[in-house]
Symmetry: D2
Subunit: 328 residues, 4 copies
């Protein structure tokens, strides 16, 4: 049984707490949060203890930490955990600054602790099946990938200001997905974007609508379609065209009820947002991490994956500003 300390008791921390507790080989040992009420609520529910960062890190009973705290604390917590020999599950991103990410990963490597970065979508059964189907040659050689990724509604401008911008905050998931599906590193990136959804986002120096084009050495192409708004809920689709066919992964609908009336037939919306849509993915990534703890697997999303996705986001931003394709 592995004892897990949860750092960060917010919305996503609650999801992880439930998965930790439900897994037969992991226990929620302790909860750490600057807000003691948040920590207490989760600790009580799962009969865990509340700890400070220091207590957790020096607690020999803690085998691994799950970092689900504010983004700007990730790199520091990773380093502390690494120095204390804890295995690490960290929500993306490691940090918004690429140099800081690299320094942090150096520390992790020095201490030889496993580090898993929570690119949850890789563990979505849908996208994973696409990946597996591709590996089995179902569509032949991959030629073009279209990722459509839209959030239901834009974040507040205050968040946007500290988010690192849409590419580092939101598109980073899609960059990772492109890497996951294509199994090949892109050699160039082009980005085009607009501020259409909320003027406050533009005032904060960011965009909310974007198309990104990636080219691969094989000649394959990928595009990412992003929006910070979607009137019909969380839009998470992709399709991969290859020499022998097309694979599409559609939205998961809230239900399979269809109403047929005078005005047409009405079907349900997609699952509303990431907590619902990726519920199974969160459980699956936890299962994977326990397998890492048990020595049965290596982290499928390593710190290097986190670094690479951030690098793509940085280069996309460079393309957006220079209005030209950027070599990678």
């Amino acid at each position: 049984m592995f004892n897990i300390a949860l750092l960060g008791a917010g919305r996503i921390g609650q999801i992880h707490a439930a998965n930790i507790a439900a897994h037969p080989h992991s226990t929620l040992w302790s909860v750490v949060d600057p807000n003691p009420e948040n920590a207490a609520r989760i600790a009580e529910k799962y009969q865990a203890r509340q700890q400070s960062v220091e207590q957790t890190m020096s607690d020999p009973e803690v085998h691994a930490v799950l970092i689900a705290s504010a983004t700007d604390t990730h790199a520091d917590l990773i380093e502390i955990a690494a120095r204390h020999g804890k295995a690490i599950f960290c929500e993306k991103p490691v940090h918004l600054d690429l140099a800081r990410v690299r320094d942090c990963l150096k520390v992790v490597k020095e201490h030889s602790v496993p580090l898993f970065i929570g690119f949850n979508r890789r563990f979505d059964p849908q996208f994973r099946k696409v990946k597996n189907d591709v590996l089995q040659g179902r569509i032949g050689k991959p030629e073009s990938l279209v990722i459509i990724s839209r959030d239901p509604s834009p974040p507040p401008a205050e968040y946007v200001r500290v988010s690192g911008g849409m590419f580092r905050d939101m598109t980073i998931h899609d960059f990772d997905m492109a890497r996951f599906i294509m199994g090949e590193e892109p050699v160039s990136v082009y980005a085009q974007g607009s501020n259409l959804v909320d003027p406050a986002i533009g005032a904060a120096g960011d965009i909310d609508t974007a198309f990104i084009v990636l080219k691969y050495a094989s000649g394959a192409l990928a595009t990412i379609v992003n929006s910070r708004r979607s009137a019909y809920g969380y839009d998470q689709r992709l399709e991969l065209h290859g020499s022998k066919g097309l694979l599409t992964a559609g939205n998961i609908l809230e239900n399979q009820i269809h109403f047929f009336g005078e005005g047409g037939s009405l079907s349900a919306l997609p699952e509303h947002f990431f907590l619902q849509r990726y519920k199974e993915a969160y459980a699956a990534e936890w299962q994977h991490f326990v397998a890492v703890l048990r020595g049965e697997a290596k982290p499928e999303c390593s710190g290097d994956d986190g670094e690479r996705a951030l690098y793509l986001a940085d280069k996309a931003l460079e393309s957006l500003r220079s209005q030209r394709e950027v070599d990678l």
Copy 2:
């Protein structure tokens, strides 16, 4: 916190054990099973105790029993539990013999304990939404209901022999679904059936393929389409036509991946069988039962519902044998 004794540690008992343990207001207190290994496995996992029926019933810490044991033990266990003042959650059916059901329910009523019969499909979010949409008048006055219900593969002939026949064993769920959706008791039933799937079923005196027609006092009609076989998995659909439109509840597919190739486009199968398909329904019915324990609700499926569904099964059999419509 309610302490629950689980009677029956088989496949369906395991599902219930997980839901009991996951619910914030219920605990798996003890497990009872004639096979001690089965009981031990579940008891260990959830840190519950193993008990005999006698121990469970006389244990003052046990607030409620969940009966998931062999069908022919249900009525006896219900009566014992009722006499010991335990609240009762019982898998369908109460008993295969209608007279025995009535006697049993009399005992329950004498002891004024809540009895919930686990017609799981009523708690499926899909079918429940259809029901709610109907209640809100979305399709106007219900006129005709089609329930399609096919199992992936037939049960072994030995099971068929003690099952009470397809109508009492399998169609009983569809009779209850018809009652749930229509909100009205049928006034006549007609049944037609065949033995097409497995000759051993015919040899055991049963059918494996059937159409049933129900008529209601309002003039509305319902039909049930049954088969003990389905090459494409568990087929669980219904559609209700009304004066203002049609509501359909389709199968839940295993995924939303579509492959387009030379031969057409290929989509996933429905969820394989009831454990997968009705996973959410099992959790929801347990939530409902805890609400009953907390005094917040009355059992939505009572013993009377169990009795009524069995009555319809009996009358359908009478129709099948007499080749005529039977008044109810």
Copy 3:
């Protein structure tokens, strides 16, 4: 080139006129209608002549007649045409009275003219593909067929009064479809029905909602679901379940546009009514009839098929009235 006389210049006659004119081997030679304006409109458009029944029948240039006149004239016109040696395409039904049908077919046989009965749905590419797939063994042995057939809105009560009742007027298409798909004659029929849509239909002694169950010697079953009303347009679906799988033929939608907005996703309605839905079927049945004229084929829907469908309608009515299964 075959010269065709069109008897009946109404809505369905216009469809046939267009198909006759468009076919490379047939010409619309003449039009006959008690209403000279109707006849004139079609005749002018296709540069055909107006004739009386007598002129048409004795015109040696006329190779075949297409009878699309009022139902009660069909049998008489068939007999006259047969006596004049004309090949005959007749809209269903031959007559509403089974004895009259039999007499009429006797005359046709005496004169050895080809008689094709226009069960248009057999020529729908959808249903034909189901049939062909079944013949090729795609679903193994057919076990149960569900035909859902609903008109967009009920006919006027005056029409109902002379229609022979829903079974002979509307369900007759579905009886023929069941015969077409199953390729086997049913051995029993059971019918249940209600008057739910329009009280005037009930006052005229008819029903507007029905379920019919057919049983076959092979043990296979079929059900027909009928309504004279459908808020969402013409509902024409069927599904056939067999030992190796299921084939479904869905509605043809008006378009493939989907709108996703706050309330869900909205798709198009089915093609509105038979003139749109079976447009291709009308063209295909005309192609078939020309092949008959050219000696390349025998009528796929003969007078015997017309008789048999009417026989099933009569027996269904007998079942409805007697509340029991009727042997065939």
Copy 4:
């Protein structure tokens, strides 16, 4: 009645001949083709005459010409027809060289004859409905458009060599579609492409796979996804995301049959290629052109539209070569 001369009796000419003949206000008057057998076949079928270009142009009975000949003859034929005062329906493109297009359009304007360029997809009922829905504000302000357009298989390399390249030959349709749907001219274009399908295409200096990004002054974005190959047939879809929702136009399938078996559910392929997929569009554009002849409408696709689409193709090629966004 308008007498139409058809210039070009190939595959697409045959489609137009049928539509001309079927329309109540147009007649196929004559057919012109360098291959007399091709011309004769169509002329005979519709009882039209064979003519030379000179005969057609000087024939006072000819009201309009439909130019469906080889691409390199279009501009010359347009000019001759304009000089003879004929109304002109010309298949796209006017010419592959933009300067030649401009000269040609000058001649057309001098002679004030109507010129319609056959961008058939604008008349597809699907895409037209999307356009109309947008105009009615159904999705609010358009924000991002995705056009997916793949041919079933690549053309022979000899054709590629004279085609002007994929952008001018194939993508030109998608550029026009983007203009049609967005109702706004793009201000920049970026193109990325590869030769993945057939090395012979690369050897001919062309690409066969491409992504194109267009930006609009409003900030809206569009992307075009192209391939010269599609294992699953002609892939013609688009989706437009706006502030209030999403509109998608899916492929038209060959049928609505679904087979459910052990391996999943299998549905039909899209209509195979443009002759099938855009059958209705060809009829609709002819109806529009007759309305132009009758003075009831102005050409919805003018020579200027043809010029503009070619301009976009040229600029996309410039972007592809320079690896940067090109201003328009």
